[in-house]
Amino acid sequence: MSALQTFMLVVDHDKQEARQIAERIAQDVESKKTTLVEIVQSLGDYVNDEDPLLRGKAVSYLSAVIKALPPKFLTRQQVQVLTTFFCDRIEDAGAVAGLETLQKLDRFTKEMAEELAIALFENFNTLQSRAQSQRFQVYQLLNELMSNHRSVLHNMGDTSLVGTVDLMTGEKDPRNLMLVFSILKVIMVEWDISRHVELLFDSVYNYFPITFKPPPNDPYGITAQDLKDRLQDCISSTSHFAPHSIPALLDKLDSTSQNVKKDALNALIACINSYNPDTVSTHSITIWETLKFEILNAQEEFLSDLSLKALHDIAKRLSEGVAQIHDQLPLAQYLRPITKECNEQLREPQQKQAKPAQNILKAVSEASAASFTLIVQVVVAPLLTLYQGADGITKQRALLETLTLLFESAITVFGEWTTRSPEIPDENPLVEFKDQFSDIFGQALMGTVKEEVSFRISALKGFLRLSALRGYFHESEIGLFVQYLNEILLKEESEGRDDLKKEAITALAEISKHQPQLIMDITFPAFVATLPDSDEGTDTSYLSTLETLAQISVEKAIFETLVRRLLTKLSLLLQKEQPGSAAYPKAILLTIFYVMNQRKLEGDPNLEMYYDKIVVTLCQAAAATASGKSMSNILSDPTVLDILGRLCNLIVRSLPRAKQDEVTNNIYTLFASADDFQPVPLSQSPSDDRRRTMILSTFLLAGLPADSTLPHSAANMADLLADLVKLSIAETSPPTQLAILRHIALLVNKFLPKSDLGVANTLLNSLLPTDSTPASETTPETIKTVFWLSKALILRLAPTTTQILASLLSLLSSPSEQTSTTASRGFAILLKDDDILSPTNGANIRLLSKQRVFTTLIPLISSKIREINIQNSDAATTPKEHDHIKPAHLAALSGILSTISPTLVMPELPTLLPLLLQSLDLQAATRDSFAVRAATLQTLSVIIRENGVGVIEECGHVQSLVTRLLKTAEHNRSASASGGGAVNAPRLRVDALRCLYLLAQPPSAENAPAVARAGKLSPFLPVRSQVLRALRFVLDDPKRDVRKAAVDARGAWLRSIEDTEDDD
């Protein structure tokens, strides 16, 4: 059998084999064992056979051999002969593939290209009756011609234009259309299409709007949007289309489908941006007349937004190249009907139609300086006249807001003071109204009765925009505004929610970015002057002053001045013998902390100064206070020390390493000399005052790098840790104790080398009670220390994590109620985010630690509770000795739940749900029940929100959950009056109602596809009437918030669950 015959046999089912045959023959041709002529001759009768399939296979054989030849092998003459051969048989399968190979060759000439193109256009009248893949091949070939021999096609002019349109007419396959659209776009842009505009336009516009939806699991990855984009590129490709495209697209806006309208508007915007400005101008007014209705009677916001964009883009296009503004500009003609309409609508600016009119003005005026100027010329004066004659404050306010929108446009066009782009040479047309604006807005802001807060806020916002507008107000005019703001903040009484003051602060903060000098010169001194030299105790007005100063000190210069001034004030206070209460210095420290926290301190040139003045000096002062060598006792207040500590921590973190090492040596000495202050650790019974300095030491420690060489840790930390543990167990002052506990946790978690973990484990084990330990020795302080030590180890996922968790859990089963209850609260400590033992401070917190704790504890707690439940039901009659154990486990559970992300909870839901329901049953049995139930309701609400009711239904707990929630939502008058029985605090009632509300929320679309839900009865149907009846009484709760939650919950149940019922 010849190679040809083998090829024809296998080509249909084994492409690989067929290719190998062709490659073999190609090698033979190369090595001259055979010649092309022989191959063509070998095709013999097959190419003339009656059967198109046989002919096709024979031609494919030749194509395959040619494809396998090296590109330079064929002579020009051979290429010519083959081209002619293939073109003659172009309708046979395989010829197109051969031609595609040939046209890539260097020796394929223009003449051949033309011959090929003509063959393509003349012989495929019936292309659309062929299979998609064949059509695709033809388009592919044409596309290749377009890229390799475009000039040939271009020279053919109308022939290629009409030929291409004829070829694709009727095409429906999206893959082919993608190709067709891109071929057509080349013709539209580069050919002279003037004689065939309509033909060409119709050839693509027929496809508008695209309604294609890709099949599920679409293998080709073509989306409707891809098609829309290519089609839109065609429609907008040339201005010649405008007479056809724009009316057609505007017609489509009458469609009832919002998607069609959206596509039409998008195409229109594309046309506006790509047609030449003259063409856009011709159609501009027609477009406005149509789009006006889309905006004034907006059905959907996105349609009105797109329409506004179209109007904006027209204005922008018409402004191109405008050098001088006059009435005869196309832009002016376009804007005239727009401003007329808007002026009419704005005559009653408080009415509904004014809003769209404002939006139109804003969209069009921000298109360009020219557009802005033309609009300001005709719009501002009538608005000002209206303002003068306005009969009510509502109307005035609406006018101010309209003007403010124009100011915003002005900022878009001309920029703010801080804008870096080059300045627009055009004059700002608002300049002529400068004095009027200043008067009107100033009068509205300062000359209105204080009750009209929202009116004054509108005025303030407008004034602020004008102050930000580049090159507009003179410095003194902005200064006037700043003085108004000062007055509002310093002199006016609080009014309601203080919205005006909040706005004033925001405004000052914004001005400080543009004109920091004005703030420094006007606001700063005025505010600082009101700060007292000492706190008289009763007047706390300095607080709001400090708050304001903190918020406006964003800019570097202001920030630096503020910190300096406040530090001076603080040092004065520290030198006073009777400085009054600690509240004032505390507020000053807080202000410094706040502003420093807002800025990046790294690389701040003043960092050294802050280090010296704050860390070193104030720590020394605290040490002196602790040793009783200071006149002032401000620095013995634990909250003052806490804030000072945070401030030091912030600075220490940013210091260069050398300075940090200096801090390392002074963690405990607090930069004081050995004579002045004796460090706390490893010393004999330090006094309360001295122990309190551990607050500072802890914050200093937290800010240091993990590889610092700490004092007292030369060999290992065992002695230091043991001493600190001793201190923490004996400590009676809570703030000091917390600091010591955190100190221990930091040492163990961040600084203890892995090899020394045994030290911490040994210490922990020594603290855990054994069977022989008398209950009195396990004090709450010991348990607290145990939990903090455990926390430090668990967060770094020490190898002993599982054992630690098991020992903590066993504390809950202690016969001593006190131990059990204290331990149950401790579980909330384990995973709680701490702001000292934190990632910011470089704590070693492993990502999986929370998950590990949760998955270890849940099964243990669950089985323990089951065990207790069984015991209780067995021994129902005998008195129960250890009633506290079950609530303690549930409390521990709630402590964990309140500190982990709800996503971790989901996989364990079947185990967890029964526990949560039992937690809701905890009534006033223990004093922790409130917190337990609150945490449970929080978890439940997240579960319901994330998963809908599905999971709960699967576990079969709907009825019991709903009953318990209703019970928790109840306000029991008699119980609260008598002080016994079940009391549900208002917050619990609200939380329970919130869960009920969430239960009735329709599941979000992605969680439950409509198809899956349809025909399924709501799981709530059986409890619906129970819920509605019970909630009717909750509507009479004495607390307003509870009633509000009940109204929402009841509304949700009335709405959504009834719907489901109707559907079935």
């Binding site: 408080q350 509240a583 505390k586 709680k832 917190a931």
Partner: protein
């Protein structure tokens, strides 16, 4: 929907609608003296173990003794967020309902101890011939009946002199059987459900 009857009504700015001023928490409540700075700091909860339940529940249970009776503002909050059937704008912003036109009174003035209350709401249609006044009245009624406890009687009327056929509409709104019949009407309930969708 048929042609709008009033396509350009006046709209009140939402900031100007009556709201309940929350009791402002005195400055000293925070451990650090200032709510503003407290919000800037990370957590300030000092000690989980000792501060666990009492402090968080303590203030609540104190408050629990103080009753907050249902007042006019609360009724206003319930109905002002209902949307107008013609515009996607709330009845409050259109001034169809307003605080001075709501009253809550004992239903039996002769019996001081009676818990029964009557809520009267006067509605002001945006134009005097608004045929949707009945629908609006019905919407307000449905919302209140769904949201108030059983001891409240609801009375919804058109404010005097604001509607050409006020008497007719009032009669319809006051007639229990006609209200019940209207609520059986699927289309009407559809409109009302849509109006109530925006209630917060």
């Amino acid at each position: 929907m048929s042609e709008m009857q009033n396509s350009n009504p006046t709209i009140i700015n939402s900031a100007d609608l009556p709201t309940r001023l929350r009791r402002t928490v005195p400055h000293k409540s925070s451990a650090y003296g200032s709510d503003f700075f407290a919000s800037a700091l990370p957590s300030l909860a000092v000690d989980t173990l000792s501060d666990y339940s009492p402090s968080s529940s303590g203030s609540d249970s104190d408050d629990d003794l103080m009753e907050e009776p249902i007042d006019e503002q609360e009724i206003y909050d319930l109905i002002s967020t209902i949307s107008d059937p013609e515009h996607p704008i709330s009845l409050g912003a259109l001034a169809v309902v307003s605080l001075p036109d709501i009253s809550v009174k004992p239903a039996l003035p002769g019996v001081p101890d009676s818990p029964l209350r009557t809520v009267t709401v006067l509605i002001t249609p945006t134009i005097t011939h608004c045929s949707l006044a009945t629908v609006i009245g019905l919407g307000v009624r449905v919302r209140l009946e769904q949201s108030l406890p059983p001891r409240f009687r609801v009375d919804v009327q058109i404010k005097e002199g604001t509607h050409s056929t006020a008497d007719e509409v009032n009669k319809q709104l006051a007639d229990k059987e006609r209200v019940a019949a209207a609520l059986e009407n699927g289309t009407l309930m559809g409109v009302i459900a849509k109006m109530l969708e925006t209630c917060q």
